[in-house]
């Protein structure tokens, strides 16, 4: 582990935002709540998009559900901002937490897959390739949720 990285993480923790989140009564719960609302929005709408591809007869593929992707992006922005603030509050410990690292990779993968699936659903009928992608969207986002929960339980 490089000293530069560790110093950077300590610098983040000792910044005004880091101190505020870690020590104030309401800083952490407020940003944790915003993080949960953002999560419900981006993950929830991504799952709905995936279900509309996996079960097109039930959830009517092609009803312009991709229009909701703009709302999902708002949720993602809220998630990234609140998640960054929460990370700054405990950067030196969170950075070395494996569930956190796995969660970040899964979120990145989930966003790329969901954005790609959204583009696909604008084109026309459901293809087997889209179904595979939609299955991956469901698996990746649900895994990200589980990894996020495990941050508090596994060092």
């Amino acid at each position: 582990m490089s000293d530069t990285l560790l110093n950077g993480l300590y610098w983040l923790e000792e910044s005004a935002i880091g101190e505020w989140v870690a020590t104030s009564i309401w800083g952490y719960p407020i940003f944790l709540t915003l993080h949960t609302i953002g999560m419900g929005t981006i993950v929830g709408l991504s799952l709905m998009q995936a279900f509309s591809v996996l079960l097109p007869q039930t959830y009517t593929h092609g009803i312009r559900l991709y229009a909701f992707w703009k709302i999902a992006i708002l949720g993602l922005i809220l998630n990234v901002i609140s998640g960054s603030v929460l990370f700054i509050g405990s950067a030196s410990s969170t950075w070395f937490n494996w569930p956190f690292r796995i969660k970040l990779m899964l979120i990145l993968t989930g966003v790329i897959l969901s954005a790609s699936l959204t583009r696909d659903t604008m084109k026309g009928p459901v293809t087997s390739r889209q179904r595979i992608k939609a299955t991956a969207v469901v698996v990746v986002w649900l895994s990200a949720l589980v990894a996020g929960r495990l941050i508090a339980y596994i060092d």
Binding site: I25, W26, Y28, P29, L32, T33, T36, I37, M39, G40, T41, V43, G44, L45, S46, L47, M48, F51, T58, Y59, T60, I63, R64, L65, A67, F68, I71, W141, L142, L145, V146, G148, R149, L150, A152, Y153
Partner: protein, 164 residues
Amino acid sequence: MLDTVTNWMLTSSLYQYIQIHMWVWPTLESLHFIGLCLLYGSLLVVDLRLAGVFPSIAVEKVTRFIPLTVIGFVTNVVTGVLFICGDPERYFINPSFQLKMLCVFLACINAVYLSVVLDRFQVANKGASTTIASLPVSIRLTALLSIGFWTAVIILGRFIPYVE
């Protein structure tokens, strides 16, 4: 009354099981969050449309997502009850939990009212396209209220550990 329920839960085998097995709590939390995403995601699709957002989408097509809302809700009720069974002394006296339950109750009443007014609207406009932006104000307001109630449920749920 609450003391009796709490004591009964504390002596139950379910309480012992949740306390002893350390994998149970994170598993319940994971399922609770999966339920939350199903409930909130499907509600956003249905309620935003009913509130007048994306008027080019037919109402009867977005309402097909309601079963996912129900699945998410049932998942959260089951895991929520197990949370209470696993730590009854914490929840019943917690003001954030009490307000959360009030909001869940109001959200359910609101959902029943919304389904009634939506049914009446769809019967009255049978055959007409619902892709037009002409939903009654009562439906639009109730849909917005639904998003508000469920967002409040998330906020109050998150604050439970911080207002003890």
